[in-house]
């Protein structure tokens, strides 16, 4: 259940609440225990943003001639690219799971 929370965060709580209520004890222990998916994904997005800012900074350094070593930029750019793809993959999977649950016949 925790996995759909970031996707459902944009929706009204009324549509999500009936789905969440039936599993009482199991859900409460899970949501209070481990770190929520929404905090994890927002942390990952912040880290991703920092990486892009760093890569942009190095690109500016390269343009102005202040870049100390080429590999620094290449590594920052590659890491930012991989992180972006990973984040998009996680988002797609979460959305897929959410849609799967929404299609479920009750």
């Amino acid at each position: 259940m925790a996995i759909i929370s970031p996707v459902s965060a944009g929706l009204s709580s009324a549509t999500v609440a009936p789905v969440a209520t039936p599993t009482d004890s199991n859900l409460s222990t899970r949501s209070s225990g481990a770190e929520g998916f929404d905090t994890a994904i927002s942390g990952a997005l912040n880290s991703l943003n920092d990486q892009h800012l760093y890569a942009d900074q190095l690109a500016r350094d390269a343009a102005t001639g202040n870049l100390q070593s080429i590999e620094d930029y290449m590594i920052a750019a590659t890491e930012a690219q991989l992180s972006t793809q990973l984040t998009v993959a996680v988002r797609n999977k979460a959305l897929e799971a959410f849609n799967e649950i929404m299609r479920m016949q009750v």
């Binding site: 880290s47 920092d50 990486q51 070593s69 590999e71 590594i75 590659t78 890491e79 991989l82 990973l86």
Partner: protein, 142 residues
Amino acid sequence: MAMGAMFSALGVAASGMSTYKVWLDAIADNVANVSTVRGMDENAYESKYVVAQSRPGSGHGVRGQIGRGTSVSRIVENDPEGILAYQPDHPLANEEGLVRLPNVDLGEQMTNMIIAQRAYQVNTSVFERARDSYLRALEIGK
């Protein structure tokens, strides 16, 4: 950097690239100064040697990061005495006709240059392989 631990092979390969680039810089400086002559009243050109050190990994066992690559710990300089040469016609020579030549062995420098260049290349290969592997992993389940 939090993501740095995730794509650790990239950071490790990058540390190797940085270290061997410093070595190449040092070799370039040594080769450029191979015939820098100094007078007896000053130090000879001191050829530079790069000392690398490994960066230990964080975490424990296979769950943590195995190692964080390498870094330059310090630059060692050769003796300031240099090689004393008798060149009485040289403008920098003292009354005994002596000058200081740098203690740089060009053959050794060229050998080191090839090692440094190949080591840099192999680190770029590691970087590319790691990137391709991560990209392949991202294609799982697509």
